[in-house]
């Protein structure tokens, strides 16, 4: 609940590794961040390595390679296949499940032929 979010964070306890409380883009370093900072000039990088990862949420996209916990939905080609580093949370069926992993695991899975696609958690709000 909104009123107690901060309180709940301190008491939240799960048997699964959870994502960091906050992983907004502003806290993430840009790829090749060692280059000289030049305001309002685009620094480009190929993101082919993200080929199996849904890009949304955009605010997290630059940080996807970081050493952070990621909660995601995984679709695999081989039944019951779980990539290295992934911990299944809930099986939807044999080829689709929710999982915990790290940013590095996510990167590695994007090159895994048994993985079809991965979708990091995305916010859903009350429609009202």
């Amino acid at each position: 609940m909104v009123a107690t979010k901060k309180t709940r964070k301190t008491t939240k306890k799960t048997t699964k590794p959870k994502a960091k409380p906050k992983a907004n883009a502003p806290k993430a370093k840009a790829p090749k961040a060692k280059a000289k900072d030049k305001s309002h000039t685009l620094k480009r990088v190929s993101h082919d390595e993200e080929g199996k990862i849904e890009l949304s949420p955009l605010r997290k996209a630059p940080a996807v390679a970081q050493q952070e916990n990621v909660v995601c939905i995984v679709k695999v080609r081989k039944p019951r296949y779980v990539p290295d580093g992934f911990s299944v949370r809930t099986w939807i069926d044999d080829t689709l499940y929710t999982a915990d992993c790290t940013g590095i695991d996510l990167q590695n899975a994007s090159k895994d032929p048994n993985v079809e696609s991965i979708s990091p958690a995305e916010r859903v709000r009350q429609i009202g």
Binding site: S39, K43, P62, I73, T90, S119, A121, R125, I127
Partner: protein
């Protein structure tokens, strides 16, 4: 016709021999006078004392009006009218109505009317009351099925969710925020799952929420409570029932695995995430077991591919096809008038400037997604509000703009999305990015025109939008484009023509499928107010329309169960589509906002019984029929009406 031998006598209210007033008084006030004279007392309400009535008056002298000792002044509405009078509100004693009305400066005196009387407006309009369902219906109240609610804020102590022995109707309540370690029995390993026994043990306590360790937000009416009441409240508290009042209930308080704990986005927000939403749906279906189950989801955002290919939508679709007697109804969204969609065509080897407006003072993140066919190629150049270019991103690349070491802009031109093969351009703006009109200069890199569709992500605090004129088509929510879900638009059941709600999002999906499938009353819906035990509140939105359909599907599933029939999701969807009522929407074609038409509980139940579905009728005629045949849905009046705008 049986003979009635009772002798009735007529007593004039205004008798010249008694020196009373004339009958030039609002009939509703006359009724109160008559009741008082017969010894009946008017009870107190939230705004009036006992034997006091709220009135609207038209007066020529406000000071004199307010100076009357009988008058408890309220408001002066607007300025002096052309006829020299003012409209004022007040509370006056019933005993003084006649005297007040006789004052020379009082030109008119009317009792206040109740607006949006109750949830009955929904249940009547969709033909869900037992007397409106087909004759011979065996489960007209939804007995034997489960209504699942995945939402935020369940008031398990509201009497509308208790049975006749004051025990909970909830079969399970999973609080994903809970500090427990889940429940092996329910197959979840985080949050807290509350059983009926645990809930029942709290119901006699002064503060059941603290005792249980879970409760709806104290600061305002809970969305989830209101939604659950529309779908399946039994009216034992509010006096007015929802669509499937005898269904069993399962509620999941959906949480977010990654939310900002600080900053503007953490304020006043209630949201879950796609992963835990999917886990919630799986939980409800698992907990229901073989019991037919209709789940409501009134959650969503604006982004996504809008073709049903996102993994969360694929996951929901898979859950729906794994077993019979399951459905998921999802709100279409409330973004029709927000300017969040744009579509267009970039000419072969040409450019197209897509304008994106961020208002001054917007201190929130802003995001945009643009989708174009996988077989085509475009570059995107980003121009700041001062028209300075920050650079161009060719296909297959992404880029960032930093200021003072922080990313203020991220843009990706991503090829071959893993789920649909299409290309997507995404742009993220940090709150520190300049406000104003940004431009995305799209350039076709081939001798072929490129079609695109784009969406601005939802932002409840400061919604950015595309520049006008807006294309309000395809404004469905991010998870409202699945292949097996039932997506619901909203209209206003309080008006004779049942017009569309101004906010109700439009289809179709990006891949041209006809969603929303159906529409239901979602405008000014009065339903349970959390932390009130018996009270109600008013909310509007496709969130309020969707549970009307969820409850209606529950009635259908209950009827099927009573007749030992099983229904696949395809059969359920087909029945929803084939029995939807027209006029409105006009004509026979699918409407981008009403969908195939207005939901009909009578029609859905009839398809199970095997009789002909209800014929389409114009709304006005249909409502007259309903009024003529409808009985009062509840004995008790709704209590303590509050109102909130959602």
């Amino acid at each position: 016709m049986p003979q009635d031998e009772t002798i009735y006598s007529f007593t004039p209210l205004f008798d010249s021999t008694r020196g009373g007033a004339t009958n030039d008084i609002d009939p509703r006030l006359q009724k109160l006078i008559a009741f008082r004279r017969s010894g009946m007392r008017k009870p107190a309400t939230s705004s009036t004392d006992a034997d006091e009535v709220a009135v609207l008056a038209r007066v020529t002298d406000v000071k004199a009006w307010e100076a009357q000792s009988e008058v408890r002044p309220g408001l002066v509405i607007g300025d002096k009218g052309r006829d020299g009078t003012y409209i004022v509100t007040a509370r006056i004693p019933v005993a003084r109505i006649e005297e007040v009305r006789k004052r020379p400066y009082v030109k008119s005196l009317k009792a206040a009317r109740r607006l949006s009387p109750s949830l009955a407006a929904t249940t009547k309009e969709i033909l869900a009351l037992p007397n409106l369902l087909p004759t011979g219906a065996k489960a007209p109240t939804g007995k034997g099925v489960i209504v699942g609610i995945v939402d935020i804020g369940c008031d398990f102590a509201h009497k509308n969710f208790l049975n006749s022995t004051n025990k909970t109707r909830l079969k399970a309540l999973w609080d994903q925020w809970g500090s427990g370690a889940g429940s092996p029995a329910f197959g979840v390993n985080y949050g807290t799952v509350y059983t009926p026994a645990q809930i029942n043990a709290t119901l006699t306590k002064t503060d059941p929420y603290t005792v249980l360790g879970y409760g709806p937000d104290k600061r305002g009416p809970a969305h989830g409570t209101h939604v659950m009441d529309i779908a399946a409240g039994n009216g034992r508290g509010s006096g007015v029932r929802g669509v499937a009042p005898d269904a069993d209930l399962i509620f999941v308080e959906v949480a977010n695995s990654d939310i900002p704990w600080e900053g503007p986005e953490a304020v006043g927000k209630s949201f879950g995430d796609s992963v835990q939403l999917l886990e919630a749906l799986k939980f409800v279906f698992d907990a229901a077991g073989t019991t037919p189950c209709s789940i409501n989801v009134s959650l969503g955002t604006n982004g996504g591919p809008h073709d049903g290919s996102s993994l969360v939508e694929q996951g929901i679709d898979r859950l729906l096809t794994q077993a019979k007697n399951r459905s998921v109804c999802i709100a279409a969204s409330n973004s029709f008038a927000d300017g969040i969609h744009a579509g267009g065509t970039v000419a072969a080897n040409g450019t197209f400037d897509l304008k994106w407006v961020v208002a001054p003072g917007d201190s929130t993140d802003n995001e945009l997604e643009l989708w174009y066919p996988g077989a085509t190629r475009m570059s995107v150049e980003i121009l700041q509000p001062n028209n300075a270019s920050v650079g161009t991103v060719p296909p297959g690349q992404s880029g960032t703009v930093t200021a003072n070491g922080k990313i203020i802009l991220f843009v990706a031109n991503r090829l071959n999305d893993p789920n649909n093969g299409d290309n997507m351009i995404g742009v993220y703006l940090h709150p520190n990015a300049p406000s104003g009109e940004w431009k995305l200069r799209l350039r076709s890199l081939q001798s072929q025109a490129v079609d695109f569709q784009a969406w601005v992500e939802r932002d409840d605090q400061a919604q950015s939008s595309f520049a006008e004129p807006h294309d309000n088509s395809r404004t469905l929510g991010s998870i409202s484009c699945g292949h097996h879900t039932i997506v619901v638009g909203s209209y206003d059941a309080h008006k004779p023509d049942v017009p569309l709600s101004w906010f109700s999002s439009a289809g179709p999906t990006r891949d041209g499928r006809e969603k929303p499938e159906v529409s239901a009353p979602g405008h000014a819906v009065v339903a349970a107010r959390s932390r009130s035990k018996t009270g109600v509140t008013t909310m509007s939105g496709t969130s309020m329309a969707t549970p009307a359909v969820t409850g209606t599907v529950a009635l259908m599933l209950a009827e099927a169960k009573a007749r030992n029939k099983s229904l696949s999701i395809d059969q359920i969807r087909q029945a929803v589509l084939s029995t939807a009522r027209r006029t409105p929407p006009p004509g026979t074609a699918w409407d981008s906002r009403y969908g195939t038409g207005r939901i009909s509980a009578k029609g859905l139940v009839a398809t199970v019984i095997g009789v002909s579905p209800v014929a389409s009728k114009p709304a006005k005629k249909s409502k007259k029929v309903v009024k003529a045949s409808a009985k009062k849905p509840a004995k008790k009046p709704a209590k303590k009406v509050a109102s909130s705008r959602r």
